[in-house]
């Protein structure tokens, strides 16, 4: 699936690895194609329109479910954004219809009556160990959300962050996204990583199983300006 400029996330990972001399190879796994849990350091699931999402959901269950569980078990990074986030949970209910998910995250998503949750958003996240942050581990992720589904956390789920501005998972709880080890789901696109280069670096370091401080510093003047622009748009 690729909507809402998922390509931006991939470009940022590719360039920030290349500028540091870290080898980066991108492969895609389309409908019906197998997925190998040990072949990759990071697995990315983007967003899709309802129709595409349904096609992808069937395929995820049929051909990729066990590989994703295998990848998560060996602590590879799995990142789902928007539709990808919803499909990493247990299920997505549209009225009487229920699309099953991969079940890597303890969440259920429901399409309810009421408006889509749309707008600029900023959340505060605490990534704990492995964070490249030098100014404390609580950091801001800024982006744009646009989802009809409301995502509810199960007893085993821990939110990715606290909503500072915007709607978040369900528009009420004040939480956004979910994290289970190195598996992360979030509604933030816009896209996510260009607006939050520090988080891209956290993903790269975590994928490589190194400390963030071991990554070579880059000239991030434009990255920081873009981050501030997105925060400002969210009203922060």
């Amino acid at each position: 699936m690729n909507i809402y400029a998922d390509r931006g996330n991939l470009l940022v990972l590719a360039h920030r690895c290349a500028w540091r001399g870290i080898g980066f190879e991108l492969s895609s796994s389309g409908i019906g194609e197998p997925l190998y849990p040990d072949a990759h350091d990071l697995f990315y699931l983007g967003g899709g329109q309802d129709r595409d999402q349904r096609l992808c959901a069937e395929d995820l269950i049929e051909t990729k479910r066990s590989a994703l569980h295998g990848a998560a078990a060996r602590e590879a990074v799995v990142l789902g954004v928007c539709g990808g986030y919803q499909l990493l949970g247990h299920s997505y209910s549209l009225g009487a219809d229920e699309i099953p998910g991969v079940g890597l995250l303890d969440v259920r998503t429901v399409r309810e009556d009421g408006p889509r949750l749309i707008g600029n958003i900023a959340i505060e996240v605490s990534l704990g160990d492995g964070s490249p942050a030098t100014d404390g581990n609580d950091r801001i992720l800024a982006g744009f959300e646009n989802h009809g589904g409301r995502t509810y956390l199960g007893p085993d789920a821990r939110a990715l962050g606290r909503v500072v501005k915007g709607h978040g998972n369900d528009g009420r709880s004040g939480f956004e996204g979910v994290r289970n080890g190195n598996t992360i789901g979030t509604y933030l696109h816009g896209p996510l990583l260009p607006k939050n280069a520090w988080f891209a670096d956290w993903l790269i370091a975590t994928s490589l199983r190194i400390e963030g401080s071991e990554l070579a510093a880059l000239d991030d003047g434009l990255e920081k300006a873009a981050h501030l622009s997105a925060r400002h748009a969210a009203g922060l």
């Binding site: 809402y4 470009l11 329109q49 595409d52 434009l222 300006a225």
Partner: protein, 476 residues
């Protein structure tokens, strides 16, 4: 009914005059007032048009296609009521009808020619009962406002199959699978247009391609040729749905940089060479769409060709203005009579931006760019679409990029990840300063400055240029 309508017309007109005096180009204000006074005013006034109305909608190209149609239809001797400022929702169309109606309620026009916002097609068709509807393309655009592409497709399908446009002649782009599918399962006639030129085929689909799966059965389409986004020659290997054979066709397409394009136009009435004063394949599609609707209205081929060739760039769409560098430098300006051309190319979604970038890449040498990214409601609050546009086409081709607008830093970052050296990228959020700095980089009218603004940025830029006397007002 006219007796009841007349005072409402007068009141709405007065409100329009006041809002203009206040300095706004508020082209939809009087219409909005009229709609509040009489919600069925569009139907009542439109019903007085002797030859009825035609509607034009698409994600990209509505304004240019309608401008071309106006040129053609006027040459064919038709007098038009036309929403030429691009105000394309109910208020704008009501304003156009109001402006054409005199104090006795008589309308000065035979045919209504209206470009229509995608989400307003069904309700405006219900009021106007159009004799023909032209649907050009659907690309993803402003997901925060329009929702998913499927939502629009479903509404359009309902409108043209069982809804208010079920009896209208349909003019459809055969090369857009989503649009072409709308022509099936209906009784009223359909006329298809399309491009047939193997030399234009791209390798693979663009990142922003939107219609990969068959509307009928969900299987992925097989494309024999992709011309632009998801437009091309295709078929579904599963259910057999295929591109309809068009009756109005462009062959032998030649694209000449940012200035012109030409092609051979084939219609049932014959064949002719068309030389456009507009650039890019997207404008060939616009011209073909206009030619097809004109053909459906039984306009002769000579008028069609003359109209297409006589069309100048619409408002902010490949329009060129000459900047006076004295003005851009302010009172402290240096040399005299320094001038520089500024070409404005609206970009508002990935598919449209890709065609502009592709056209720009046809020009040799290094370019100076002024990109203006706004995130107001009319632009779409979500600016992620810039990551789906192929700015990579300009890598190594940018001498200086100035980024402006409410989300300027994010555009600058996009250019950096597209492979443009950050040392060549400047961020200046204020538009007037950005224009001054970008234009002042080089005083050579033969090295044009290319402006790529989003919709509200384009309006702001034109307003600035009009105030300085460098561009003509669209409202005059």
């Amino acid at each position: 009914m006219a007796g009841l309508l007349a005072p409402k017309l007068a009141l709405a007109r007065a409100v329009g005059a006041v809002s203009r005096l206040r300095g706004g180009g508020a082209s939809s204000a009087p219409g909005k007032v009229l709609m509040r006074l009489d919600p069925s005013a569009i139907g009542k006034l439109g019903g007085r048009l002797q030859r009825g109305s035609v509607l034009v909608s698409a994600t990209n190209g509505k304004t240019t296609t309608t401008t071309m149609l106006a040129e053609i239809l006027e040459r064919a001797g038709l007098s038009l009521v036309h929403n030429q400022t691009g105000a394309n929702m109910a208020g704008g169309i009501a304003s156009s009808l109001l402006a054409a109606t005199d104090s006795r309620g008589r309308i000065s026009g035979e045919l209504g020619l209206f470009e229509v916002d995608e989400l307003w097609l069904d309700s405006l068709a219900a009021q106007l009962r159009p004799r023909a509807v032209l649907l050009g393309n659907l690309f993803r655009d402003q997901l925060d406002r329009y929702g998913e592409l499927e939502t629009i497709v479903d509404r359009w399908a309902a409108a043209v199959r069982t809804g208010p446009a079920r009896d209208s002649m349909l003019v459809l782009n055969a090369d857009d699978p989503v649009i072409a599918d709308l022509g099936r399962e209906r009784d009223a006639p359909v006329l298809y247009f399309g491009i047939e030129d193997d030399s234009l085929a791209l390798e693979g689909m663009a990142h922003a391609a939107d219609a990969k799966h068959c509307r009928r059965c969900g299987a992925p389409y097989v494309f024999e040729a992709v011309y632009l986004g998801h437009l091309g020659h295709y078929h579904c290997p599963s259910c057999g749905q295929a591109r309809p054979v068009p009756t109005v066709i462009a062959t032998h397409v030649t694209l000449q940089g940012v200035q012109t394009a030409s092609f051979t136009l084939q219609t049932p009435a014959g064949e002719a060479e068309v030389a456009l004063s507009l650039p890019g394949l997207y404008n060939v599609y616009n011209a073909l769409a206009a030619a097809a609707l004109a053909t459906a209205l039984e306009v002769g081929l000579p008028e069609i060709v003359a109209g297409l060739q006589g069309t100048k760039a619409a408002f902010g769409r490949a329009e060129t203005v000459t900047l006076d560098l004295e003005l851009t430098r302010g009172a402290a300006g240096g040399q005299k009579s320094n001038q520089r051309d500024l070409q404005i190319m609206l970009v508002k979604n990935p598919a449209g931006a890709n065609e502009v970038l592709r056209t720009l890449a046809l020009e040799p040498g290094e370019h100076d760019l002024l990109g203006v990214l706004n995130d107001k409601i009319a632009d779409g609050r979500d600016v992620s679409w810039i990551w789906d546009a192929d700015f990579e086409l300009l890598a190594g081709r940018v001498r200086r990029a100035t980024c402006s607008g409410t989300r300027a830093p994010e555009l600058a970052l996009r250019l950096k990840y597209a492979g443009i050296d950050p040392a060549h990228i400047r961020v200046q959020e204020d538009l007037e300063s950005a224009l001054r700095e970008a234009a002042g980089d080089r005083s050579d009218p033969h090295a044009p400055l290319y402006a790529l603004p989003t919709y509200t940025a384009m309006l702001a830029m034109r307003e600035l240029l009009v105030a300085r006397g460098e561009a003509r007002s669209a409202w005059s």
